[in-house]
Each structure stands twice: as C-alpha cells, then as structure tokens.
Symmetry: C2
C-alpha cells in the first residue's frame, strides 16, 4: 500500500489540529505549509499588543510541535496557487502534489474597500501587528508627555477602537486599565488616567454573539473603566489625525481596527463558490463541490451548522473542523471505509470574553456568568488551550505577576530599523 | 537654595546608575534623556539573538525604574547637539538647560570604514539588531531545508562570527549548541548538526582581555562544540555570498559582526579632545577639560586607570563611573564640599564569559576558574545584576527550562512588515 500525500496549508488552529490528528499515521505523508514558522494562539494576541505578554509566550514553532512524528514534514513557504485538477499546490518554493488537501489559511482584516485606512488603523491578526500596536500605544503616551500643545496632548491621549467584538472590547479594557494603573505614576507632564478610550460599534450592542444581558454587562463594565462606548456609529474616514464618524470628528493619534474580516485570497484559486467575504462555500463534509479530496476549514470556510446557520470564525470551530477532516482522511487512507462521509457537526461548548481585571462574560448553552468567576473561567480556559507546558507556565506566571503588581512585563518601544546608520 | 539641573544623556549602565544615585536628592532636578524607552541589559542581548530569552526579559522601562522619585524626569528624545558654552542640550524635542551634564551615550559598531558590510553582517547592540540576527539564523536553517542545491545548502548552514571577544564567543557557542541540540530533530532534508560555525579573530587568541590560559580553554571548549576558530585572520570583504579572508572565501549566508566599536558621534559636539575611536578624553574626575560641569562616562569616555591604562568598555566600568559622577554632583550641589574632587578609581572585580552549557571562564585578580563552576558563577552574576525581581525570576526560569529541555523558548521568525497588503 502506498502513502497518501496530505498537504495542509496553514498552521493556525485548524491546520495544526488536523496535523496533530494525522501525526504518526502510517498511511499518510503530511506536509504542513505556512509562511511563518510558528503556530499562534490568536485569542491572546491582544495581550501582546497591550505589553502584558511576550510574542513567544503565545507562539510555538510548528516544526517542534510536529517533530516527533516521521510522517510530518514542515515547509516554511507561502502558497501562491492551487491547481485542483493536477492536484498540486504552488508555493514560492516549488510545487507539492497531494492526494488530500486541507486549506486552512484563515482570514485577514478588511477595511471595506478603504485600504488606505490600514496605515492609520492597524488590525490585530499577526505578531508584527501586535508589536506595532504596542509601539503606537506606548509612543502615544510618550508623545503626550513631550508636547506643551494641549490639543496635541488630547489627540495623543485619545484611543479609538473600531469594532465591538471580543478583540475591540479586550483592547479597550486593556488600554483603559494600562492608563489607570500601569502608567499612572510614570509621567510628569500628563496624567495618564486622563486618557480617553472610545469604542465604536456599528451595531446596537457590543459582543453581539453573546446573549443580550452579557452585552449590557460588558458595556457597563467598560464604562466603569472610563471607556466611552458608541453604539450604532459607523466610521466614515480614518486619517493620521483621527476618525470621522458621520459629522463627528474625533481627533486621535491611535486608532485600532477590530472590525471587518476578509478570507485569504488563496481561496479563489480553488475555483469553488465563495461568499461575499471571500470565504469558500463547503459541503457538510467541509470539502468543495466536485473535489472530495479538497477540504477548506477554519476562517476561510463558509460552513453551516445543522440548523443552517453560518458557523462563526472562532477558534473552537477551526479546531473541531481540523480534527474532523483529519479523521476522515485517516479513515479513508486506511482503506477501511467507503461509506458516505458523516457530516461535520459543530459542538458549541460556549464562549467567553474578558473586559479587564475580574470582569468577563461567559456563556455555555443556557448557562451565563459575569464578573470575577467568569474572569477566572476565562483565565483557566486560555491557559488550558495554550500549546505546551512552557507557554502555559510562563503565561500563568506573567498573569499572576501583573495581577499583583499592576505592571506589564513587556513595555518596550522597539524601533523598526536595526541598522546603526539610520538611527 | 535652588535646585541644580542635572541632565543625563543615555539610559544605559552608566546613565541609569548615575540616575539611581541622584534619585530622591532634594538639591537636584534630574532629566534622563534616551531615544529608547528602556534600559537594556546588554550582556544578555546575545541570548535574545539566540532565541533563548525575550527582549522584555532583559529590558526595563526607564520611566518605571525612576518613577518613585519626584526629582526624576524621563524624556524620550534623541540628543542632537550639546552647547557647552550656553549649557544646554538640543534634542529632537526641544532644548534642555543644565547645571551638570552627564553624557553616557555609549557606542555602536564600527566597520572600519566599510559601512556597506552592515547590510550583510549586523552587529549586536540593540533589541532590533538582536531580533534581526535571530531571524537570520533561524531563516538560514529554514532555507537550507528548502533547497536541493547542495552548495546553497552548505552556504545556508555556514555561520561566520567576526570578532573573538565575549560577544563573538558567546554567539559562536550558542549557534553550535542550537544546531546540535535544539534543532537536531526538527528538520527532514538537512541534518542541523552539520552546521558550520566559524569564529574569525584578528589577534592571536580569543577573549584577549582574559589571562592566556583562559583564552586557550575557551578555544578548546568552542572546538569541542564543533566551532572552527580562525586566529590571526582578517576579514577583507563581506558580501551577500560570504566573507573574504585574504585569499580565502567562505561562502556563508549568515555573518555577524562582533568586532569594532565606535563611540556615539554626539561626543564631537562637546568640543573636547577625542581619541581615534571617537571616545572623549576625560580627566581623572571624568569631566572634560575646561568644563568641570560636563562629565563623560561609559563607553563614550576615554578614561585611564591609576596605572595609566585605558579602561575597557565594560558594564562594571560604566556602572562605577556613573555612580562616581552622581556622588560628586550630589556632594557639590549640597554645597558641602568645595574641596578638589577625588579622582575616579576603577575597582576591577574580575570578569566572566560563557561559551555554552557548563563551559565558561572567570577571572578575578589572580583567581581563575573554568568549566561548570565558572558557568554557575556566570549565571549567578548575570541574574544578580539584572534589573528588577521580575526579570531575574523570568530569566532564571527560562534558563532552568532550557537547561533541562535543551529547548529555546523564543524561536520565532517574525516578518518585518506588519501590513496585510504587503504579505
């Protein structure tokens, strides 16, 4: 019997979980292709941006996650094209044939056709974006401290978050807490506690994937931290000077984009049907029409649950999809089953989001929780799902340290350029 | 009585130690000016470059180091000029007057007139340089894994360190250990243990500031790790393809510069006498001729010890000089002393350098030590001198972890660009 060649594009939640299930399977030869060398625990990326954690605390080299298994091959390369007829993937580093393909390339930000906003309002999906946001937020306080122009000072100390999902809420809470606790004593000209944090949400409530009472709690929790929550407001322009919201202009030096999401453009090369956000429409076995050997999973996939509702772009969905597909491939390459594939079923275990110290919301089925207990639950779940003992241990210690001291361990402003001459 | 205005340029070892001595002094109003926001523990910077530590483990925000004291003011700005006659410092953010000035701006790399080498051979003085070197070293292995061209593979897996001082030795040992331990299992096409590490030293021995037997031990320790040590060799050219050493060309993708050092050009604006390396020549009270209120300390200063030997550019020298000058200023601004200044005396407590796991050299006066005990001494001294309990604790844990597992906790290849579009 020959090996089945499995190619996995992307080492995010979906890809890495598929790879883990296929690890050690003697019937499959697996190649994981990613343009980065690490798997990233995105739910904690905002803490890197907020100087609470180090990038390496939430990232693990894909190679070492998989190196124990002889059937796993890791390739650092960017996928450029997929030829579903010839069954090969074209990367910037040559081609790879496959018998099964798992496309798990995720999504990036979408500025709704206003790509020029990116310069002024970075999104938060990658480590370089997190450190760029960290640099901007810390530099904003430094610039406020240096200026004697009061308008400029106000602008420096105004932070606008666009988007009221978990990322926007977590960032807003964290900036407010940083200003009130961590930085309080550090400045002489400015009072860091006067920082203005504004969360702009287009819909009528924040955290709209949670039950309504939890949205209400979250809004009040943010407001108690001094965050101004603007509901039903749409950003119409972003410049170096601030944010336009209809007729209202907010002068702000720091704007962070936590709104639109757009699927990875590689999905196009599959030739399958796509939805408006560029997600690839998949069947109930997560394969594309006409190609049962090509699966799309995670944020790139437009999949539906049993009731026909679109599945959200969440880590648990990606994890379960990755595992489901890998199990299918394992069974089929073992030649055990020619029966029709059982459809993918998403088991919704619930969700959790944090606003700040001892403030969080949690929901699982009909069970709802807010406050300290929900916050402890949030901590516990995130430690549990982190990859590897080392990351768990160091994140736990960093949190314990920050909780006691109010300090943030990674408050570094690092210049972009490394050369001597440009300094 | 009026306050004396003290300006400290630079938050390195010399500057921060001067600031600490002046903290809380009621007669002085102190401004620390640095273009970065953090004090950096440079002796461990090579571990950041070698993916063993996080940047924030060895850096602390200058603001929070000094925020307890009302007389301390921290300014993030780059010094552009010093006007010793008008007693003011010009920064990119306005001017500052002073009664006393402490110039502690340190040094950067010198390519001996071949600045174009920097592109191909970064030095190691700052965090961006450390992360750039980390990226290059890790990417070199990835590129070797991807290519089928054997010459290219050899080039990717050849690492040249230029300079046989502590930094060159530490980096050479660390790259060799990374190849033999950390990365051994991770690759499929290449055998990481075949990596070639070459240390090029112009003089006739490495670690020449140590007694001769310790240099010999270090060379043998490096060789036992597989490092090739080339003595009496001078680099005549560096390109993208490798290093020219006389008639000999070494094809190497990764070259690291650990050789020449050049003082910060700001020293020129003092109008004082300078030596060939651009260091400012100071008197035995570390002030410049004709300006007893202007002190130059640390790597920027050309100072002599009691026997007339030039003091080396080491952390202990900078620390003692910073403290000495600050104590002078404290005494004089209290108006207690008009007596002539007692000259600066450097107390040489010894030195230590590490080659790798359980391999180090240590010397204090006539006492010499090599091997495991010296290595434990090295660990202990570096933990002791790190700033703050948090950094000590996390560095200690990272080391303990790496020692047991052979892993390196910060093996991230991070792209330079943060934008979506450029990916």
């Amino acid at each position: 019997m020959t090996h089945k060649k499995v190619v996995i594009l992307g080492g995010g939640f979906a890809g890495i979980n598929a790879a883990k299930v296929l690890s050690g399977d003697r019937n499959c030869q697996v190649t994981v292709i990613d343009r980065g060398n690490h798997h990233l625990f995105q739910p904690l990326l905002y803490q890197v941006a907020m100087a609470g954690l180090n990038p390496s605390d939430i990232a693990s080299p894909i190679r070492s996650m998989l190196h124990r298994y002889d059937n796993m091959f890791t390739l650092l390369a960017a996928a450029k094209d997929i030829d579903v007829d010839r069954r090969l993937v074209v990367t910037d580093f040559g081609e790879r044939e496959y018998d099964y393909l798992i496309v798990a390339c995720g999504a990036s930000h979408d500025y709704f056709g206003n790509d020029r906003w990116e310069e002024f309002a970075p999104g938060l999906k990658t480590i370089p974006q997190a450190t760029e946001i960290r640099r901007r937020v810390l530099m904003a306080f430094e610039s406020a401290e240096r200026t004697y122009d009061l308008d400029e000072q106000t602008k420096c100390m105004t932070f606008v978050l666009v988007g009221g999902g978990p990322t926007g809420v977590e960032l807003a809470g964290a900036i407010a807490e940083m200003a009130h606790n961590t930085l309080k004593q550090d400045f002489r000209t400015i009072d860091a506690t006067h920082a203005k944090v504004i969360l702009v949400q287009g819909g009528d409530r924040i955290l709209k994937q949670f039950p309504e009472p939890l949205s209400k709690y979250s809004k009040e929790a943010l407001e108690s931290l001094g965050v101004q929550v603007r509901l039903g407001d749409r950003v119409t322009d972003i410049t170096a000077d601030g944010v336009q919201i209809g007729d209202d202009f907010i002068a702000a030096r720091t704007v962070i984009w936590a709104a639109g999401v757009k699927a990875n453009p590689i999905g196009k090369s599959l030739g399958a049907e796509m939805d408006r956000a560029g997600q690839v429409i998949v069947g109930n076995d997560l394969s594309i029409a006409g190609h049962p050997e090509v699966f799309v999973v995670g944020d790139l996939a437009s999949a539906k649950d049993q009731e026909g509702n679109a599945l959200p772009g969440l880590a648990p969905v990606a994890i379960q999809q990755g595992r489901y597909v890998a199990k299918l491939i394992r069974r089929e390459s073992a030649g055990k089953s020619t029966a029709p594939r059982a459809p993918f079923r998403y088991r919704d275990k619930g969700q959790v989001a944090t606003i700040g110290r001892r403030r969080a919301v949690m929901q699982s089925g009909r069970f709802r929780l807010t406050g300290s207990l929900a916050w402890l639950g949030w901590l516990f779940i995130h430690i549990l799902y982190l990859n590897g003992f080392r990351n768990r241990f160091f994140v736990f210690l960093s949190w314990a340290w920050s909780y006691v001291t109010f300090a943030r361990g990674a408050r570094l402003i690092v210049p972009k350029q490394w050369k001597n001459r440009s300094e």
